[in-house]
Amino acid sequence: MPESIPASLIIDTLKDTFREARKELAAEVAEPPQHSHLGWILSVPDTHQKTVLAALDKERALRVVTCATEDEANAINAGLWIGGEPVVLMIQHAGLYASVNTLRGVAMDGRVPTFYMIGLLQRERDRDPKESRHSMVRFAEPLLDTFSVPHARLEGPDDVHLIPEYYRLSRQRRGPTAVLVGLETM
């Protein structure tokens, strides 16, 4: 059975992920960016991850840009990545559907590392997402499969190691990857 993940665990994991990303960039480039923050969260607010977004309000090490659309988030991510900044996109499955053209045009065709955390709002605790009564939940993984986007489920606290793994994978394959947040964070 899936479990909710504490916001603090996700935030600590993101910080570690960004620290590692900055270390790698520093080893790779002539003049790595020097900033007081660790990285960026591009958010189109998601009910499913609202406790994380609320906790991020108090975080100085992670800068949050609230975007009006997921299309914007994709293009902002490209600019931040070109500038050497670590980034995570926190969106909802409905936003994934809404932004398919920028997923294709920016992340895929542009070969821009793009790491999504996608909330599966209305995902039923006792049912596999592929069997969900809700089309928003049911179609998320098949859509990612259609575009050959590697993805994994965050089904509980034991799965947070997938965050740095899929973040690194987006950098290695120069394209999009995603983790799907199964239950509402707490």
Partner: protein
Amino acid sequence: MTIKPEDILRAIATARGDAICVPTMTTSPAWRTLAPDDLSIGCVGFMGGASSLGLGLALSMPKRRVIVFDGDGSLLMQLGSLATIAGARARNLTHLLFKNGVYHTSGSQEIPGGLSVDFVQMAQGAGYRKAYAVSDFEDFKRRLPSMLTDEGPLFVELHTGLADKTPMTDRGGQPFHQQVESLYQKLHKAG
């Protein structure tokens, strides 16, 4: 009165210094000629994304000016980006809107609202630090230095005629992924 877009681009190419430029749609062919192989990246394949791409660049490099060459039809596709840019308070972002009232690239169909759409009011309402319109080339040249140095986000609605070329009449230029790679390399692997 309208301004020739090529005249604007020529003046920017001379004055921009090390600014990163983000052209889109009908500014792209002329910009390729005026500023080949430099710190530019065109919004290709995701119409409407130039302003957001520029915002990401501006946030990542706060000491460098980023200039977006947007179109009115393009901006309408992601109009919410005005609020996102204003909310992110990108002080080094100059957002130039080449306003001609039509979708020039696809055959000059009128944009919704045509030339009556007031983007300056929209930018002001969204919270840009400064927003104004320019419809005379001499006025543009006079204001250009401050467009490149004033604290942003700064929005300038440029009343222009149609460009000589469009991405459909003058195909070419690098695909987006090559531009991404090229700019990344220039910014991080120089020397």
